[in-house]
Symmetry: C2
Subunit: 345 residues, 2 copies
DNA sequence: CGCAGTCATGACAGCGCAGTCATAAGCCGG
DNA sequence: CCGGCTTATGACTGCGCTGTCATGACTGCG
């Protein structure tokens, strides 16, 4: 009368069930599942066959409880569909997959009560083995947070927002490329370059501002007033309407492509031709950048490479606690010159 | 000599430690942490104070093991930064947060070996309580997959790709809006409307194709040959170069905004003015759609509402097993008319 | 005042794994 | 041919929590 397994048919099989079927101990099943050494080929095969037959899948909670590791990495995202952050997140997903870890995601909406600290906290609650903070924005709470973080943290695309024990930084210095973009415009012969900045709570926006500033300083050029947007094309458009007031305007470096597109629309409406009257350079190389009118000169960021490289560091830190952090090679960033930038006049 | 807790200072506090400090049983701590009834206010306060003092956070793995529920929901994404899928993912993240569940993410790259089935499988391995499949694409393997799925599944933005036990569908019928977009062009006076379709492995692309087709059929119009892209502006551009060959071309409905933008560029290069010679309508209302030249008429999808509504269904299915699925109200979709569409001539 | 019913709490077991240690078998060299 | 090694396996335990049940205190009511 008793069914084979002795439990209701609905219940998921456990390692003991597999063990029984394969005629081995539960521990041996565990060994096979974890690719531990000291298992004979014969036994391994029998266990795998039994597992397959029963449709066994090991219980993650039990495994995490017993081993103290969850084999998962948490990501803090910004909760926007902006091309940069979204691409970085996708890169992280792809890269995490390769490492064998699972991915947990929480997002922190800008202006939300808890912010990054809250997001990190909820990841710690979930018991992740490591944390990725992607494109952090500036906020308070970093100090108290760092005390509670007891797993390695990877900060992607910007300097770490807080000084926690095991923080590594991966990813590019986007300031460097902002500098290159600005220099591109100067070398075309523009007297100076205006900057349409991103929201300054974002490290990456500040980075780009500083890169632009450094380029102007290097070349001994006057620094025009900065106009700040919020990354959106709408804000770029609004900024463009402001900039139209300046008859001397000949070149603008925008902190991302969306703002550059909004800016170009405002310029067009104001009767300024791009690039004949005003050159525009963006940042990100979004998929549409090459197809707007005119095609946008911009900076392409290697999101996948950043994520992959950074995760390698993180996994190293997780699996070799106490060891020195791996060095991070800055992945290649590229200035893509298109029709929106040209010599003045 | 023995320190207070009797364990190394590095070890995370457990509920027994809290219990000891608060002078109650471990079970009572568990009661407080889970907001169970039958705990006096006094005890509750003492326990919370003790937990705060020790920096206690409950161990998720142990909780999951004991309760059999992980309190987490898995999402299958497409691994692209395309505006639609990325927005939907963000919407899901936001919505999940409100439900109190944690989010695990896996993505299936198009053309990858395992595909959706593999992604779902890995989520099941992780032991999620429910699964969200966002924008599924067409593929085999659905049948065998459905046998293994033992948690509720929500399919967002398209019909379910497989017949699993507990599948609910949430989200809009984008075909309906494709129809509205096409009708908008017909009502402007265009004799017929071309369609620049998305990749037909995507349900949403097929939906839009069918909506377009239905609109033409309703109005008794000839159906021009379909051009298929891959969602990218580049593919829209390529399609545009093909469409230029047709001198009778006066209106195109593109399955997303990026392709519409590429298309408009090709039209511009071919000397066809938008909207004077050719009207273009897109789909998605990406943030730049309003700022390209000319501003793009398009269809705005309420990603947040779709995700929120869908997740409500999913959580209901998780927490009330066996009950009838909740009805899903289609969230409002909106045709945004801008300058890229106008009457012919 | 006594009994049933609510409320508040604790003791205990067990969730399904992995870690530790014990054990047995094979293998080698002196 | 025996002591010491490597290899292969199992018994047992415990990870930190939740579920079940028992227990006692307190309540109201006939």
């Amino acid at each position: 009368m008793t069914p084979v397994a002795g439990r209701g048919t609905g219940a998921a099989p456990r390692s003991v069930d597999v063990a029984r079927l394969a005629g081995v101990s539960q521990k041996t099943v565990s060994r096979v599942m974890n690719d531990e050494p000291y298992v004979s080929e014969d036994v391994r095969r029998r266990v795998l066959a039994a597992a397959g037959e029963l449709g066994y899948r090991s219980n993650n909670a039990a495994r995490a409880l017993a081993s103290g590791r969850t084999r998962s990495i948490g990501v803090v995202t910004l909760g926007t569909a902006l091309y940069g952050p979204a691409s970085l997140l996708m890169g992280v997903e792809r890269a995490v997959r390769d490492t064998g870890y699972a991915l947990r995601v929480v997002n922190t909406m800008e202006g939300e009560s808890a912010g990054i600290a809250g997001a990190v906290d909820s990841l710690l609650d979930q018991g992740v083995d490591g944390i990725v903070i992607s494109e952090p924005i500036d906020e308070e709470g970093g100090a108290e947070l760092s005390a509670r973080v007891d797993v390695p943290v990877l900060v992607l695309g910007a300097p770490p927002p807080f000084a926690a024990p095991h923080v590594v930084t991966g990813g590019i210095v986007s300031g460097q490329m902002a500098r290159a973009a600005t220099e591109h415009l100067l070398e075309l012969g523009h007297t100076t370059v205006h900057h349409l900045a991103g929201p300054q709570r974002w490290y990456s926006a500040r980075d780009r501002l500083e890169g632009w500033r450094a380029a102007l300083a290097d070349h001994g050029r006057a620094e025009p007033p900065v106009v700040e947007g919020d990354w959106s094309a709408a804000s770029g458009y609004a900024a463009g309407r402001e900039l139209l007031a300046d008859p001397a305007l000949t070149a603008v470096f925008a902190a991302n492509d969306d703002m550059a597109i909004g800016l170009m629309r405002a310029l067009a409406e104001g009767g300024r031709r791009v690039p004949e009257d005003v050159s525009v350079v963006g940042f990100d190389d979004t998929p549409v950048a090459a197809y707007v009118t005119p095609p946008l000169t911009t900076v392409r960021q290697p999101f996948d490479a950043m994520a992959q490289g950074g995760l390698k560091l993180l996994v190293h830190a997780i699996e070799n606690p106490g060891s020195d952090p791996l060095p991070m090679a800055d992945p290649p960033v590229e200035l893509v010159v298109r029709a929106s930038s040209a010599a003045p006049r």
